[in-house]
């Protein structure tokens, strides 16, 4: 049951964006000259994944006999748990990875960008508001990663930013779960 309003679209879009956590993923980018191409591959894949998740969201929830508001509770919990992980775990390392630009596939796209929080956020955003919110937010996250890939410094600042995005994920996840509880 779509329950569109601007505030909830913003929260769910931010959740998708934060789930990509570009400053955190930045730490796992391969060295130059594969850095920007790898980020580009990861960005393309996360947008593609968001597109697929958005396309199947309503059908998947129908298949599971689950309302959008109930799913939002589960999605919020997953997002918050991933947020806690991003907040307290160390930054991901570039290795092990596929060689060269293929590092954009593993580990950049999977498991770092296309993680359970992204799946949960994209599904709930699409079920509630249609595809644009989820795909648009994933595209912004991917673009941010490509932009950050041009930088090699300051690592400490970006790692700190990754933790802050993790904290934001926790808040967004809790907000989504509470909204899911007190929704129709």
């Amino acid at each position: 049951m779509a329950d569109f309003n601007a505030a909830s679209a913003l929260v769910e879009g931010l959740a998708v964006l934060a789930a990509t956590n570009p400053p955190r993923v930045w730490s796992a980018l391969p060295p130059r000259p594969d850095r920007v191409p790898g980020a580009g591959v990861g960005a393309a894949i996360v947008v593609g994944a968001a597109l697929v998740l958005a396309a199947v969201a309503s059908a998947l929830l129908d298949l599971l006999d689950v309302s959008a508001s109930t799913f939002r509770i589960g999605a919020g919990i997953v997002i918050a748990v991933v947020g806690v992980h991003d907040l307290i775990a160390g930054a991901p390392k570039p290795e092990p990875a596929l060689r060269g630009w293929r590092a954009g596939l593993i580990p950049i796209a999977f498991p770092l960008l296309v993680n359970p929080a992204l799946g949960a956020a994209a599904l709930t955003a699409s079920a509630d508001h249609g595809m644009v919110t989820a795909v648009g937010a994933a595209a912004i996250g991917g673009a941010a990663l490509v932009a950050l890939a041009t930088l090699t410094e300051p690592a400490r600042v970006l790692r700190g930013a990754g933790r802050i995005v993790g904290a934001a994920l926790v808040i967004l996840g809790i907000a989504l779960a509470v909204d899911g509880v007190f929704s129709l």
């Binding site: 049951m1 329950d3 599971l64 006999d65 689950v66 309302s67 508001s69 109930t70 799913f71 509770i73 589960g74 999605a75 919990i77 997953v78 748990v81 290795e95 092990p96 990875a97 596929l98 593993i106 580990p107 999977f110 498991p111 993680n115 359970p116 799946g119 949960a120 509880v181 007190f182 929704s183 129709l184």
Partner: protein
């Protein structure tokens, strides 16, 4: 090492997906129903209320179908509630007999009247009697019980504090009022709002608004109620308020809009949680047994009042969303209604652990009536 990284990523997805599907987002069983099916359910329950009414107008209050035992007991608030349900369902003959029972038990003092007997008179019985008689007045225009409604209304006003808090019980022996009960407060709000709708400018508006503001702004905190009250009576009251001859102020309507939104959320999560209950297997472990029929009915009738409110406010999209949940509640009620056993104390009734109580018919009937009115009229449902 790369394989381990991939495996950990896959494991994270599996744990998240399994956790969500198994623990949180359980399947919601909400079969579709038709107006005809809902009406058949009402008719069967009304028959139960006819068959199980004593000659004095009271009802067999509690019954165990397994042992075929009348469990006795009585509750006047639920008696009035059953009368209200019957008037809503259009069975005036049976309801009028219930009114006679109540009128034989009116206690009068200080110029007011309260429904009850013994040493304590609760607000709920009188408030719901006003609501029921008001339903009769709305449907028939018959002024026969106008004075009784006014006398009962004065009792409710006398039990209302300056801040809007409603005392639950009056003890004539000590001339004291005491206690609070969330549902009684909502019932008094509903009753006085209905009196203002029926008899504008006769002094009912101010106490109705006073209780309403207290309920919406302070009640749960002031009375240490948690989780927030699932306020089906308050829902009725807000629906009534929109039908006042002199429209409520914009500020009050804004306050009601906020409370409606809050109640929609409360009823919504209750409906979804209940719809995940199958009463067996993992559902039983995680969600427990299906709720009491009376409780489920209150959710449906509360949402019915909110849907009418939204319809009157012109928000048909919100009304349509609420209707899907009302349909779900009533589908689950119909699935649990007992029919065809040949036991006149069981057929048409709803049971929980083989026991039914008169309010297990009252609230489901009120829920089904709300659905039928809304589904067949399409807007503010009457």
């Amino acid at each position: 090492m790369l394989a381990r990284r991939i495996a950990l990523g896959v494991a994270a997805w599996l744990v998240a997906a399994t956790g969500v599907v198994v623990l949180v987002a359980r399947p919601e069983d909400c079969p579709a129903i038709t107006v005809t099916e809902a009406q058949n359910g009402i008719d069967a329950a009304v028959r139960w209320l006819e068959v199980n009414q004593h000659p004095n107008g009271g009802w067999q209050y509690r019954y165990n179908r397994a042992t075929r035992t009348d469990l006795g007991g009585y509750n006047y608030a639920r008696h009035s509630g059953a009368v209200l349900a019957l008037y809503q369902a259009g069975d005036r003959t049976t309801a009028d007999r219930g009114v006679s029972f109540a009128l034989d038990r009116l206690h009068r003092e200080h110029g007011w009247a309260a429904f009850g007997t013994g040493n304590s008179f609760d607000v709920g019985a009188s408030a719901l009697l006003v609501a029921a008689l008001g339903q009769r007045r709305l449907d028939t225009g018959d002024p026969k019980y106008d004075q009784v409604m006014a006398d009962l209304g004065h009792f409710l006003v006398s039990m209302t504090e300056p801040d809007g808090k409603v005392q639950a019980d009056w003890r004539p022996s000590t001339q004291t009022a005491s206690g609070t009960l969330a549902f009684y407060t909502g019932e008094a709000w509903f009753a006085l709002s209905r009196l203002e709708r029926l008899f504008p400018d006769q002094g009912w508006r101010e106490p109705a608004e006073r209780i309403g503001r207290y309920v919406m702004k302070r009640r749960d905190d002031a009375e240490n109620i948690y989780p927030p009250t699932s306020d089906h009576w308050g829902s009725y009251a807000m629906d009534e308020t929109l039908h006042w001859k002199t429209a409520p102020s914009a500020e009050l309507v804004q306050m009601m809009d906020g409370y409606v939104k809050r109640l929609v959320g409360i009823f919504g999560v209750q409906t979804r949680f209940e719809s995940q209950r199958t009463g067996k297997g993992l559902s039983l472990l995680l969600r427990g047994h299906p709720t009491l029929p009376a409780g489920l009915g209150t959710i449906g009738e509360g949402m019915g009042a909110l849907a009418r409110y939204e319809g009157t406010r012109g928000r048909t999209d919100e009304q349509a969303k609420i209707m899907t949940r009302i349909s779900c509640v009533n589908a689950r009620l119909l699935a649990r209604q007992v029919t065809g056993t040949g036991d006149p104390h069981a057929d048409g009734a709803w049971f929980h652990s083989d026991v039914t109580q008169v309010d297990d018919q009252q609230h489901p009937v009120e829920s089904l009536v709300a659905y039928v009115h809304l589904a067949s009229r399409g807007s503010n449902g009457g």
